[in-house]
């Protein structure tokens, strides 16, 4: 069965949805609220779900046509006949892009359904779904394009959608009267621009070197240049290909840091939580932020060439190693920052940064399939967690609403915030469905067997263990931290007793919201099956001999897009992947880390905080704890306060005051604002306007002088003619020749 010609439909369907909702959706919703909402919401969902169906047919087509990449031309974008230059828009349907399509449209459809319930009653209901379809459209352009250029079109498009959706409630002011949502959107835009500039420069370099931006010619050309040892000419200076690719890959890393929120550009992602929760789930957890990981995986050939050549960046570190280190450090530090967050969504936001760090680290270590595996499972469980947190917030808001109207002693304003975990507690009895699915998602995030997160994280740790011990240790610590903040969040949200009247009156969310959660929970439970490792090496070998078995593993599926290349004289050899063999030691360690993280969280936060105003256990050591065990005394008296101070310092001083407030707000933002100010008030008002107005006033003044010569007396003109004649006469008689 070959249905590749259907591929453009994945773009046209969301486009149709967004045009319909964008042009007439508002009118429909305004005319008849409940029915209109249903039509607009379900139409957008249907379009995304149809795109998912198309993705599934593409998947089947690939599986039955030998997994080879298939190119579907859509149109000629730019043609310059004189230069023999064309830019085509072609879809590249290969195992990698289809994987991403399935994730984006599949998880996207579920989140669409959820959003119908979540956005119910919002005055801008149709605008929301227009943006949502626009996002799906651009994300699919990003994934499906066969060149870096089309990827960049999608890259910018999803950035735009991210901006639009973060500042969706742009007119809401926070307690200080600051338009925080609009500011958060702008911050995301500016941070992403910094990364995009890296991608652009990298594309210029690639185009200079290869004369094209299509993936296949670029990769083939890179391998050929590398093997032949030719140099690339830069204005008479010959540069080895490995050096060029080092520059390209490090510039790509800048783009990845922007889009996938890695150190040093991650700061926009926590702020992005200002958007509606379905946006956080779809864009800022499951799909858009993984675009950076996709870029890394897609460019695997370039990174592998740099790794093979041993070219070092500034003589220090090779770019794939740099990628791995950036990822690992991000995973670790973002996890630490999550410890001190009280906002339920902020915890998840830093957790997303941390998990993206895992993926980037995996890609940097050359474990591209592991990165993709974690990307997929993370899309499942993080979407589940975000939607679950949305359900919790929804329930808390309703509870607060109820007490504000029902009782009269509770109406006082006590700084209640429906997203603040300190006001929650005991919600497992109030919101049983949400509790169960949230638990599944959280345990998957912590890496508990046999949920999806266990398998994918384990695979990354396995690669880390064989790659570099220090990286492995950092990643293992990050995994421990993950389990700890997950446990803290679970205890603060669902366990103990309600700490605020709103939590006592919280309700379960409507079925429209909880059903997608259940589907995602099932995916989270089963997701690990996508790439279960082999139990023994012998089994792996057996499978390698007969790959057409019943079970198609992600590893074998992706190897058609992520070939292991041998950069030797014989040419590009597509090697079968080294299959992942189950390692009891690593798996045991990862389980141990997850369990001890959860246990630690239980020990520290059991029954805590007692009231919503009680300081965090990590922030102040309780006295009663000291007296139980001497070891605990030591631990709680010396280690915990020190650690608290360190974590708080990291979170508030280094990350908050230094990085967010100083570097980003003062340096980058103020620089930007001042430059814009300078452009507007000096360059434009004085420079450009000066020239234009100056031309006018000089002409006027000159005319004022010249008009005096027009006396209106015929004799003056006659005299002028006469003098002119005399002048000519004098010239011809005495001067000429």
């Amino acid at each position: 069965m070959n249905t590749f010609s259907l591929a453009p439909l994945i773009l046209y369907l969301p486009l149709a949805g967004l045009l319909f909702n964008g042009l007439i959706g508002r009118g429909i919703v305004d005319r008849n609220r409940p029915k209109g909402e249903r039509l607009v919401g379900w139409l957008a969902t249907l379009m995304t779900f149809s795109a998912f169906i198309v993705s599934v047919t593409l998947f089947i087509s690939l599986a039955t046509n030998g997994f080879e990449a298939w190119f579907v031309p859509i149109m000629n974008w730019i043609t310059i006949p004189a230069a023999n230059f064309t830019v085509n828009w072609t879809l590249q349907v290969d195992t990698l892009s289809v994987t991403m399509m399935l994730v984006v449209t599949g998880v996207g459809s579920l989140i669409h359904v959820y959003a119908i319930g979540y956005m119910h009653g919002d005055p801008d209901f149709s605008r929301f779904f227009t943006y949502f379809n626009l996002f799906i459209f651009f994300m699919l352009i990003l994934i499906s394009g066969s060149s870096y250029l089309m990827m960049f079109v999608g890259w910018e498009g999803v950035g735009l959608c991210s901006y639009l959706l973060i500042s969706f409630w742009w007119d809401r002011l926070d307690k200080n009267g600051i338009p925080a949502n609009a500011n958060a959107g702008r911050k995301a835009m500016v941070m992403n621009r910094i990364g995009d500039f890296g991608v652009l420069l990298a594309m210029f370099l690639l185009f200079w070197t290869f004369g094209t931006l299509d993936y296949k010619p670029v990769f083939d050309g890179a391998v050929e240049l590398y093997k032949s040892g030719q140099v690339v000419q830069f204005g008479g200076v010959g540069v080895p290909i490995a050096t060029v690719l080092s520059a390209v890959t490090v510039l790509f890393l800048l783009g990845v840091a922007g889009k996938s929120a890695q150190i040093p550009l991650y700061t926009w992602l926590p702020d992005a939580m200002a958007g509606p929760t379905p946006v956080s789930a779809l864009i800022h957890a499951a799909t858009m932020v993984t675009a950076g990981v996709y870029l890394l995986v897609r460019s695997n050939v370039l990174y592998e060439i740099v790794r093979d050549s041993g070219a070092l960046l500034f003589g220090l570190i090779s770019t794939p190693d740099l990628v791995a280190w950036v990822g690992a450090l991000t995973a670790f530090f973002a996890g630490l920052i999550a410890f001190s967050q009280n906002d339920i969504k902020k915890v998840l936001a830093y957790s997303t940064v941390s998990q993206l760090g895992f993926m980037v680290a995996a890609a940097g270590m050359g474990a591209y399939v592991a990165a993709m595996f974690h990307l997929i499972t993370h899309a499942f469980f993080k979407a589940l967690l975000f939607l679950g947190s949305g359900s919790v917030i929804h329930g808390m808001e309703h509870g607060h609403h109820e007490i504000a109207h029902g009782h009269d002693g509770h109406g006082e304003d006590d700084g209640f915030d429906p997203q603040d975990m300190r006001y929650m507690g005991g919600l497992r009895h109030k919101m049983p469905t949400t509790y169960v699915v949230y638990m599944i998602g959280a345990l998957a995030l912590a890496g508990i067997f046999p949920l999806a997160g266990f398998w994918s994280k384990d695979e990354i740790l396995l690669h880390g263990q064989t790659h570099a011990l220090l990286l492995f240790l950092i990643l293992a610590l990050a995994a421990l931290g993950t389990a700890f903040y997950v446990g803290r969040q679970l205890i603060m949200t669902f366990f103990g007793t309600p700490r605020h009247a709103a939590a006592e009156h919280a309700h379960e969310s409507p079925p429209l919201m909880t059903r997608p959660l259940v589907v995602l929970a099932i995916l989270t439970i089963l997701g690990g099956l996508l790439n279960v490792p082999y139990l023994t090496a012998a089994q792996a070998e057996r499978h390698e001999m007969h790959p057409q078995g019943f079970w198609l593993l992600l590893e074998q599926w992706e190897e058609h897009s992520i070939p292991a290349i041998e950069l030797s004289e014989e040419g590009v050899v597509h090697l079968p992947h080294t299959p992942v063999v189950f390692s009891p030691v690593v798996a045991g360690l990862s389980m141990l880390l997850a369990l001890s993280g959860l246990a630690l969280a239980y020990l520290v936060y059991k029954g805590r905080p007692k009231t919503y105003s009680e300081p965090d256990r990590l922030a102040r050591t309780p006295i009663w704890w000291w007296s139980i065990l001497p070891l605990n005394t030591l631990y709680m008296k010396y280690f915990v306060p020190w650690f608290n101070r360190f974590a708080a310092w990291l979170a508030f001083k280094l990350d908050g005051e230094f990085w967010h407030d100083f570097v980003h707000d003062r340096v980058i933002r103020d620089l930007f604002v001042n430059f814009a100010d300078f452009s507007s008030n000096v360059l434009d008002a004085q420079g450009v306007d000066g020239i234009v107005n100056g031309a006018g006033s000089v002409t006027r003044r000159l005319a004022g002088v010249l008009r005096l010569t027009q006396t209106g007396y015929a004799r003056t003109y006659a005299l002028a003619v006469f003098l002119g004649a005399v002048g000519l006469l004098v010239y011809f008689l005495f001067m000429a020749n």
Binding site: L706, T709, Q710, R715, A718, F722
Partner: protein
């Protein structure tokens, strides 16, 4: 054919007539007198044409004089008509009063 009068006398006379005409144009205000002065300048040029034609024994100069007389006649016709029209509206032919094109 030897001439009774030297060519230089003709040139001098022509020059004097031209200067009288030019000064008349520049100094007088009466439009009729202005016209007469222009005629004087044209005729000084005619005199010079004729004198040189005779001096050089060629006919082109004489022919040109006929053209000049024709043009002068046309000019006088148009000019006098203009003066009459101006006099009808302004009751004056003082050219200093005709200064509507003052800048």
């Amino acid at each position: 054919m030897p001439s009774a009068v030297d060519i230089n006398w003709y040139i001098a006379l022509s020059g004097i007539l031209f200067v009288i005409g030019a000064l008349g144009v520049l100094l007088r205000r009466n439009a009729i007198i202005l016209f007469m002065s222009i005629e004087l300048m044209l005729n000084s040029a005619n005199l010079l044409f004729v004198a040189f034609a005779r001096h050089l024994g060629e006919l082109e100069g004489q022919v040109l004089v006929f053209f000049v007389i024709t043009v002068a006649a046309a000019e006088v016709a148009v000019g006098l008509a203009l003066i009459v029209a101006i006099f009808r509206s302004k009751k004056s032919i003082n050219i200093d009063e005709i200064n509507l094109l003052k800048g």
